[in-house]
Structures are given as C-alpha cells and as structure tokens.
C-alpha cells in the first residue's frame, strides 16, 4: 500500500512486519480498544484510499527519545488531539534488499499514557531503534 503524495516523490510502501505487529499490537488483549483501533487503522492504510496525515518524529525529542528517520500517524487516523487519537504508529524509513524504500512499523502504543509507568509509543520506538529505553 503506497504512501501517495500527489506531485511529490515516488510512492513509498508502508509495511507492517508480522513480528513488529505481534510485539506492538497483539500485546494488547483481543478485545482491547487499542488493538481494535490499530487493526482498523491498518485496514484503512492498506486500502490506500485515505490521505495520511503524517508527522515527523524528532531526532532529539522530549523524554530523550531519538527517532531520526521516522514518521508517525495518530490513531484513529482521522483524529488529532490526544483525547480523540490516543494512540500512534511510528514508522522507520528503510531500504530494502532491492534498493526500494518502505515505511516500516516499529512501534504502536499510547501517545500520552495516563499511567505514568506505561511507556509511550515514542519510548517504545526508541527502544526498538537503540536497544534500550531513553
């Protein structure tokens, strides 16, 4: 499912690796709202019919997260505020063996967890990129 941008660079595919999906989304219970929202958002992304409201991640972000080369989508996709879109996907731009580029899912989770002991999606993304929490 390409990330289309009219008049811009060539489309780049968006990929949900099975292992990342299991670790990020399926860690939530089968009937949890988070899992349901992630599944719904993925279906929409893969359908390729909705313009995606991407945001850039920061190379030096709050809470010492470092996410260079990454972008994100709020979930649900059509919402913006933390109350309406409490979750997020983080994707890393990768180069594949055939030299093609893809946005690869690296994290899914809460943007602003109510429970302060819960790691937010940016901390999870940082851990996947750097092997440890910031």
């Amino acid at each position: 499912m390409p990330d289309t941008s009219a008049g811009g660079p060539p489309p780049v595919s968006i990929e949900f690796g099975s292992l990342e999906w299991e670790e990020e989304v399926e860690r939530y219970g089968p009937r949890s709202p988070a899992r349901a929202q992630a599944q719904r958002a993925r279906r929409t992304i893969e359908a390729g019919t909705t313009k995606l409201d991407w945001k850039r991640c920061k190379a030096d972000g709050p809470d010492r997260t470092k996410l260079p080369g990454c972008r994100k989508l709020y979930v649900p996709l059509s919402k913006q505020g933390a109350a309406e879109a409490p979750y997020g996907f983080v994707f890393q731009l990768i180069e594949k063996p055939d030299d093609g580029l893809a946005w690869n899912l690296i994290a899914f989770g809460e943007r602003h967890p109510a429970n302060e002991r819960t790691r937010n999606v940016y901390e999870r993304a940082h851990k996947r990129l750097h092997g440890r929490y910031p």
Binding site: E23, P62, L93, I94, R128, L129
Partner: protein
C-alpha cells in the same frame, strides 16, 4: 487458598518466557524492574531481512513537507 509465588532470579535485559510468550526484564521508573513483552531491536530485524535504515538524504527528500508536532 494460598498461592506460592515462583521466584525469578533475573536481571535487566534478560528474557523470560511465560505461556510461550517472551517478556523482557526492563527497568521501571521507580528504580526497580518489571517485565514486559519484548521488543526485538531493529538492527536484528534488519540483519534477518537484509534491510537497513534509509539514508538521511532519502528521509529528507520524502519528508521535507511533513510537519513536526510537539511530541516525540
């Protein structure tokens, strides 16, 4: 009915498996440790798949018009 807890002698960074699922021992925010579903490092996944992080130039070329927010 009293239930005896199973004692885990583990350190931060180690993995434990419970009911077929891997959990990683990680530091909590209060100086202790906790377990959570493991996060496979991207470097390990890149090695398995023959992928790598794209160049900063490619990222900038694709993201020049993409805004930041006030989050991570």
């Amino acid at each position: 009915m009293a239930t005896a807890a199973k004692r885990l002698d583990v350190e931060v960074g180690e993995l434990v498996e419970i009911a077929g699922r891997r959990y990683e021992v990680v530091p909590d925010r209060e100086g202790g440790v906790t377990i959570e579903p493991s996060i496979t490092p991207a470097t390990e996944l890149h090695t398995q798949r023959g992928t790598k992080a794209a160049s900063a130039e490619d990222f900038e070329r694709l993201s020049a018009d993409v805004p930041y927010d006030n989050e991570g």
